[in-house]
Each structure stands twice: as C-alpha cells, then as structure tokens.
C-alpha cells in the first residue's frame, strides 16, 4: 500500500507540472510496465517504445489529467492501448496477442516462453531453451522472480514459502546450469 500512496503523490505533483516527480515515477514504474509488455508480447523493443511513448504523452497532457486512484492500473491500461496501436502500425503478428480480444483478455506467457521470445539471437534462443529444460520448477521460479521481476530474497522467500537460504542456494544451482549452456555469450 505504501507504493500506491507514493505513486498517487507523484501523480499529483506531475499534474502540477513537477518534472522531478515525473522522472521519479518513470524510474519507479518503468520495469513493471515494460515487464508487462514483455510477458504479453514477448518483444522488449516494442514494450520499451510503448512505455516511453505513454510517458511522453503523460507529460504533454499533464494539465488535463484527472486524479487517479491507482496509478499502476491506469498506466497499464494506457500501455495496453499503445502497444496495440504500435503493433497495428508495425503490423507485427505476435503469438501471444493473437489471443487478445478485449482489453481485459491479455494473455501472459510463462517465463520460459517469453524469455526465449525476446531473444533476437537464434543461437541464444536455442541454448536458453535447452538450459531452462534442465532446470527444476523451483530453479526456474527463482530465476524468473529474481532476474526478471527483480524481487529481493526476502520477498521471494515470503512468496514461495522457502527460507532465504534455500532461495539463495536454489538460485546458485540454477546459475551453474545456465552458465554452462550459455558461456560463450
């Protein structure tokens, strides 16, 4: 809840034209927004562009913004529309979005799918796929939560029911496997 309140305060300052608050909000929500795009489209460049664009528009329209209860969901909705618009423009057909019908039906891929999708290098794609297949469910989960979602060990322990020490060791083992498969990169 603390995050929500902080974002609301930043939002109000942005409405008043505070540029520092604007960049603070960008830094605070950037990963969350781009990650959403990645989980649904499997395209990091598209996600990044869409996210940057909505922030630019946000600043341009700052004087006509309404008060918002939940800044994150507002921005996610905004992001979804922009992603769709970009995809139309680029005419990219994306496997995840073939399933999208309405705004609330966005399908999120599992980590092992989208993390391969975003790779532009085919060899990395292949190696990564092979590496992930060698990992246990827990190991994959740790890699996802730590490196993609950026969670702390404490948060991960809370969410998965492991101890911090187990989380740490599980990640370590996963990294050994990954390192072996991808060491040329």
């Amino acid at each position: 809840m603390k995050g929500t309140l902080r974002y609301r305060m930043l939002w109000e300052r942005i409405r008043a034209g505070d540029e520092d608050a604007f960049f603070d909000l960008y830094a605070a929500l950037y990963n969350e927004l781009v990650n959403f795009g990645i989980r649904t489209c499997g395209d990091t460049d598209l996600s990044t562009e869409a996210t940057d664009q909505i922030f630019v528009t946000l600043w341009e329209k700052r004087t006509s913004l309404d008060r918002v209860d939940n800044v994150q969901s507002y921005l996610i909705t905004f992001l979804k529309r922009r992603i769709l618009r970009l995809i139309e423009k680029q005419q990219k057909i994306n496997k995840a979005l073939q399933n999208v019908k309405a705004e609330d039906e966005w399908f999120e891929m599992p980590y092992e799918d989208f993390i391969i999708c975003v790779q532009t290098n085919e060899i990395i794609q292949l190696r990564l796929k092979e590496a992930l297949e060698k990992l246990s469910f827990r190991q994959k989960q740790l890699v996802h939560l730590k490196f993609f979602e950026g969670m702390t060990y404490e948060k991960i322990a809370e969410q998965t029911g492991m101890t911090v020490k187990t989380a740490y060791n599980t990640l370590y083992d996963a990294l050994k496997v990954l390192r072996e498969e991808l060491k040329e990169f």
Binding site: Y30, I38, T63, L175, L178
Partner: protein, 366 residues
C-alpha cells in the same frame, strides 16, 4: 549473504548488490561494482559474462540508469525550443467542448485589405511543384523528405524546389492530412492564407478553403505551433487531439456550444476556438479526418455548411431553397454511398425534397 570471494559467474550473479548493479537501479551498487571491476582486471572477463547473462535472464531490458538517461533525452527533444505561453490555461477547459476567445477586444488575426485569397504572400522561388485535386478527387503522395500527404478534394499544395534544403515550406489551399517526417534541423511549415503552421514531426489535418467561413487545424500526434499572419504576430501551441478553428469573417456569427446545444451570445470580433477532441478509440476514429478513410462524416452540421462538403465530395452544385432548410442539422456517417443515397438518408431525419439534374441538385422545402 555476501561471499568474501567471487570466483565464477554464479558467485557474482547470486549477490543482490551485483544484481542491482546490473539492473542499474541503485547508484551505490553501481559505483561499488564499477570500482571493483577496475581494481580486478583479472576478473573482467567473468564479470562481463555475468552481466551478459543477467541481461538475457532479465528480458534484455536496458539498465534503468541508462534507460532513464535515454528517456530524458527523448523528453528534451519533444519539448519545443521556445514555448510561447498561451494566453489561456488549457487545464481548466478540459471538460468544455468548445471555447471561444475574444483576445484583447481587437482583431487577433486580420487579413490584409484588398488581397484576394489566391495570392501567395510569401516569396517562393519560381520553380514550384503543384499537387492539385478536382472536386470529388483525393490524392495521396510523398514529398522528397518522406512526409506523406493526403490531399482532399478541390485542394492545392505547392512545394517549392528548395524544399528540404534548409527548411521545408509548402503552401496549401483546401484540405490536407499531413504525416510529417521528423527533422529537427529543417522545420516543416505549412502556409495557408489565414495562418502558418510550424510542425515537428507530427500527424495533423489542415482545412483552409477560401470560400468557407472557418479554417481549421486538427492535431493527431506530436506538437505544432500556429502563427497568425498579419501585423500582430501571435502564436499558439497545439497538443494532440486539439482542434483550432479560425473564424475568418468579421460578421456576427452564431456560435453553438456543442455540449449545451444552445447558441452562445453573438460576437462581433474575429475569434479562434480551441477544442479538446475526444481521444479516439480503436473503434471510433476522429471525425475530422474521416475523409481520409473515404468516410463522409457529419456531426451536428447545418445544411448550409454541409452543402459545401457535399459539393466537393461528389463534384456537384447544390442550391438550397428556403430559409428553414439552411438551419437543418444532421449527424451521420456515410461510406461509399452516392449523393442520392446520402440525400435520401438525410430526408429520413428532416423533411425536404430534392431534384437532381446531372451535376445540379436543388434542395427545397416540402
């Protein structure tokens, strides 16, 4: 948990301070590990590999500190060099459909006496490329800088030969939709008889027919600056989904507040109106550029102004007979219908009769 020794990739990557260094989220971590790297050149290879693996596993996102820096540069570019503070504050008007401003009680923009609408009042080099459309015609083309133009019926665009040398100037009579190629070094300026528009890589629609009471500019994307012509140089900055309407005649106009549906008091001075147009949804694009998609749209338009649109769209001449008929108002969308079908459809809404004789159509009261 901090290892005292870092030997291999997983030793680095399992450390959360190293993770925050890679993700660019924590300045202290960044500073610490940059220093460490310099102090341990023998581990440079391992550290670089660890960073790359992090990059892959995090979804190929740029580190946040780099991303923020790049974004600040983007923001600096999209803001205009000189932002003229508008006389009004747009924030207050977000809810109001149309605002009419009388500035200073005097004419904001006035056309010079004795100048016929066709005269181009700018020095253009003698070599000019002209794009023209007849009534009922539409043309799409690209300028030498990559800007895409869609020219509506009965319109003319003149592009001088020096276009895209130091700047990009064109002259428009009529209506056109522009998708301007971004080029910060060479401002793109559209001249019409009533105003000049300076743009910075945007998509917008301009309407300036000499025989019409209004000239309009609607901005879809980006930012544009509108400058008046004449003794008083004034300029306005327009943002996306705003439409500026310039009333050319200095006769009394009856202005209608679209939202309230009742006439505003008559005003005698020339005015400009800035409208917040509804953000288009995927299903309902903007009315003003519907013509670009071959749709004929009218939103609460009276027959008098509709007549001109229909004349241009179908290349016909319309005579409206009767006083009541001029004030009939219609809201409709047409797509591929011919003029008779359009008129028949309109008859369902308001009673009138019409006779067609080739290119001439007469509309009269029942």
């Amino acid at each position: 948990m901090r290892l005292t020794e870092y030997n291999n990739i997983e030793d680095f990557l399992v450390d959360n301070t190293f993770q925050e260094y890679c993700s660019g989220e924590n300045d202290q971590c960044i500073a610490y590990w940059e220093k460490y790297r310099i102090a341990h050149p023998e581990q440079e290879e391992t550290i670089a590999q660890a960073k790359r693996l992090f990059h892959i596993l995090s979804g190929n996102k740029k580190p946040l500190n780099e991303q923020l820096k790049a974004f600040k540069e983007i923001m600096a570019k999209t803001e205009l060099e000189e932002v003229k503070t508008p006389v009004f504050r747009l924030g207050r008007w977000a809810k109001i459909a149309a605002i009419f401003i009388a500035l200073g009680g005097a004419y904001l923009w006035y056309s010079r006496e004795g100048v016929t609408p066709e005269v181009v009042d700018r020095e253009m080099s003698s070599l000019v490329t002209t794009y023209e459309t007849q009534k009922g015609e539409k043309k799409e083309f690209e300028l030498s800088d990559g800007t895409k133009v869609t020219l509506n019926s009965a319109s003319k665009l003149e592009v001088e030969q020096a276009f895209n040398h130091d700047d990009r100037h064109v002259h428009l009579v009529g209506e056109a939709y522009f998708e301007v190629e971004k080029d910060k070094e060479k401002p793109f300026v559209v001249h019409t008889n009533d105003f000049d528009i300076r743009v910075l890589g945007t998509s917008f629609n301009i309407k300036s027919y000499p025989d019409e009471l209004f000239s309009e500019a609607l901005l879809v994307e980006g930012l544009i600056e509108m400058k008046s012509k004449g003794v008083n140089e004034n300029s306005i900055v327009i943002k996306p989904n705003q439409k500026v309407t310039l009333y050319k005649e200095d006769k009394s106009l009856i202005a209608i507040d679209k939202k309230l549906g009742k006439p505003l008091p008559k005003v005698a001075v020339k005015e400009i109106a800035i409208q917040e147009v509804d953000e288009p949804t995927e299903v309902e694009p903007l009315t003003d550029i519907a013509w670009k998609e071959n749709r004929l749209e009218m939103v609460d338009q009276d027959f008098q102004s509709l007549k001109k649109v229909l004349e241009r769209w179908y290349d016909i001449d319309i005579t409206l007979e009767g006083d009541k008929i001029q004030d009939y108002r219609f809201t409709a969308t047409f797509n591929q219908e011919n003029i008779e079908q359009v008129l028949q459809a309109l008859q369902e809404v308001k009673p009138f009769k019409f006779i067609r004789d080739g290119k001439n159509v007469t509309i009269y009261e029942k």
